[in-house]
Amino acid sequence: MLDENLIKELKAIVGPKMVSTAPTVCESYAYSFSLSIDWVTRPEIVVMPTTTRHVSEIVKLANRYKVPVTPKGVAGMTGHGGPLHGGILLDFIHMDKILLIDDKNMKAVTEPGCSFFKLAQELFKKEMILPTAEYGPGPNVAASAITPVNGFGKTRYGRNIDLVEGFEVVLPTGEIVQIGSMAYAETDFGPFFRYITGPDLIGLFTQSNGAYGIVTKIAYRCLKRPPYWSFFTYYWPLEKIRKCAEVLQEATAMELFDVHINDKWKFEAFKYLTGVSLVPDDCYFCVIFSINGFSQQELEGKRKTVEALCSGLEGKELPGIAETFFDAWPTFFCPPTHPIAAQLADAGYKVIKGGYMYLYDSMNYPLSWFPEVYEKIMEIAQKHKIHGPPRLTVFDGFPMKSQVMCSQTWAFVNRKDPEWMQAIHKSTEELREWFGKRGGTYQQCFPPVLPDFTWTNQKSAHTLLKRFKQFLDPNNILSPGTF
């Protein structure tokens, strides 16, 4: 039962219109932008702070009343962006200012609720770019940095958290601290450098679900936006999977903007519905390259290098795919508004009579392991009859710098259909078992679902995380249940 005085004091901090305990209001915050889990936890209070001071006061108050506080998160269509144990949910959508765009030093600082689209738009005007594909209209800049899951949308530069350089954070005590480049924010130099003297503290707050502190400002490292771009695709048959893997490894080591891999099932929905195939019969893996340059010559040089790499490893060029998916308006990273995504949704309607694609794994592994992991995924999918039409199990791979592959597999499944959901869940569990025993952890839902490879595979790290939690947040106020 909520203390009436708590509500009164919250309203005094942020204003009466920015606090609600109405069940209907809270219910609408119980769901996340997720293609993978149906985690539903209703907060008891939704509060919308508009300043860092508000957040600090709210956290102090929560300590006094021993009520949990969770910042709204979620990124890349996976995970859960709400509370795990009720309490106060902080929605930052009205705290969305862009505080700094420094085109000389290539930095951007925003409030936590600023959307990536808004930031990207402004950066673009100053000839900069965030090398992220984790746009998705819903996630805001801080949410994507604190959500401890992997999801759709990465470039070769990695995840959004790889681009974070600084935070302003409200600690569980209500104390406001600036870390990383934000430690320099008020100096003459500005937020120029992630590293301060001593350990790098940024990592304590990324992927933390807000359990160690609530991010109220975030500094991103940006890139200069080259004016010349090219998008093209090469393909390989199934039996050449190892050649394809070799290309991924080589290409990811080069200075390209992005390398992406899908199997043919991504395009089979169209064939299934219309009989028209978008890819040739001998095509199984499509690797899509996004390259750029500051001159036409640089662009052409890069393209020639990649083309030589692909042809040297028996790849064939496939015109049309990359140009349609990555070069056309609007960007692909906006599922509901993209005409192609709308067609995918259409396929969803027709094939499964409702719902949309269901993301059933999300994992990171050494890029060199791609053939083994892929073959296992498909072996399990075939066993549980979700391979091929009409479920169209699709592999979506994001090779990143450091030779790490992040991949997701999704299928067209009606979530209301118990038969297909059971098949999906069996595949998920079997794959998790195989993957976990090799050291991998599933990263599309958090806290992890059983069997708990996330913590058993990272035991000492987990122990330390829990110790930090006890030290920083003795009342277990911030996002309890995270660690």
Partner: protein, 404 residues
């Protein structure tokens, strides 16, 4: 892709679980930032602020996404309708910007389906809407006026004919000068225009907006029958709401279906008469204007170019667009007459924001919807915003020297 606007409630219940919760329908900022090389063209450049009730009430349940969540739960019998649910669904302005953003799921239709569910469950809708429903039933107009004004007395136009002008409640009872201007323009083009006179009834849009589909259907059938009996081959409508109701809702197979006459908005008619040389604009008006696309004419019916063609042809007129125009035009706040009646404070704030946006680029705001016109005029007066607000037909009648 399913065509939601022709669906009925049962179909909505079956398909409701589609929302991905991405938040594009209300989140701040454009929905598409760029395609690596250039900023998005207007077609994809959704405005910073999108959803008026969300901007006013702040919480997610007042956004299209939040309403999708609630509707899904309610249609699946997992959540009970309470007062806050009713507020969430009736505060939607039906501006349809979310429908432009979310092509696959068209969230606004869910709102209409949910309002119907609320009524079918016998739950209380906001009082002002009950009153309007009673007015339509008792007097045939939304204002409950017993006496039908003789707006065309000076023109003595017939009550039957192939071309019938449908004036609608707002123009008939509140802004007869706009209806008169429209008819004078049509007559000057040599069109033998008729009007049903006191036989003309409310189009019933407010019944649909209030969730009363049964009464709406009855009203639609009666209206179509009256116009058919009067010999209508073309029905010319100056009200954006009436036009959208005839064009989009009457034609729904669950309401009337195919209509026995053509439905034309006055701006379509004027633009066509202008093109064919049947009318000419002569008087120089010397104004800097901006055009507010009414939600029910623009997004809901796709009429964007004709009003602009008309304005471009008026001598001495300069058209400056607002930041949000065309398919990204922001609601005037009247919200299909629902919000201006049931949530007047929100309607006022929304109208104020739009008026200030207009005043930043022009000294005159032109629109082609009597509801937008009335709401803007009222808001400008109460908020002390100095801008002239005028209907496009009035401007045309002035440049044709048909009115003073």
């Amino acid at each position: 892709m399913p065509e939601f606007k022709t669906w009925n409630l049962e179909q909505f219940k079956e398909w409701i679980d589609l929302c991905l919760h991405c938040g594009a329908c209300y989140a701040r900022g454009p929905i598409v930032p760029h395609n690596w090389r250039e900023l998005p063209p207007h077609e994809y450049a959704a405005p910073h602020k999108k959803c008026p009730p969300f901007e006013y009430f702040k919480f997610k349940n007042y956004s299209p996404q939040g309403r999708q969540i609630l509707a899904s739960l309610i249609f699946n019998d997992r959540y009970e309708i309470d007062e806050e649910v009713i507020r969430s669904f009736f505060s939607c302005t039906s501006c349809a910007m979310c429908n432009e953003i979310c092509i696959p799921y068209r969230p606004m239709y869910t709102v209409l389906a949910m309002r119907q569910e609320i009524v079918e469950k016998g739950l209380e809708i906001p009082n002002p809407l009950k009153k309007i429903t009673d007015n339509i039933q008792s007097s045939g107009n939304i204002f409950g006026s017993r006496k039908h004004p003789e707006i065309f007395k000076e023109l003595s136009i017939p009550e039957t004919g192939e071309d019938i002008f449908y004036s609608g409640c707002y123009a008939t009872y509140l802004q007869p000068e706009t209806a008169l201007a429209s008819v004078k323009i049509l007559k000057s083009a040599g069109i033998d225009i008729a009007h049903l006179g006191d036989k003309e009834g409310c189009c019933g849009e407010m019944l649909k907006q209030s969730g009363n589909m049964e009464l709406f259907k009855k009203t639609a059938v009666e209206n179509v029958e009256k116009l058919k009996q009067a010999g209508a081959k073309r029905v010319i409508i100056s009200c954006a709401h009436g036009y959208s109701t005839f064009k989009n809702d009457y034609t729904n197979p669950h309401v009337v279906g195919a209509l026995p006459f053509e439905v034309i908005h006055i701006t379509e008619m004027i633009a066509s008469l202008l093109k064919n040389g049947r009318i000419r604009f002569s008087k120089n008006l010397n104004k800097t204007v901006t055009y507010h696309d009414p939600c029910f004419l623009g997004r809901q019916c796709g009429i964007y170019t004709q009003p602009r063609e008309i304005l471009a042809a008026i001598p001495g007129l300069t058209l400056n667009e607002m930041d949000r125009y065309g398919k990204w035009s922001y609601c005037c706040g009247a919200g299909g007459k629902v919000t201006m009646n049931a949530f007047p404070e929100m309607a006022k704030e929304t109208g104020k924001e739009r008026l200030l946006e207009a005043r930043a680029v022009a000294d005159t705001l032109v629109t082609s919807c009597p509801t937008c016109l009335a709401h803007f005029k009222k808001t400008a007066k109460t908020e002390g915003i100095d801008i002239e607000i005028v209907d496009v037909s009035m401007l045309v009648a002035k440049t044709m020297e048909l009115v003073d």
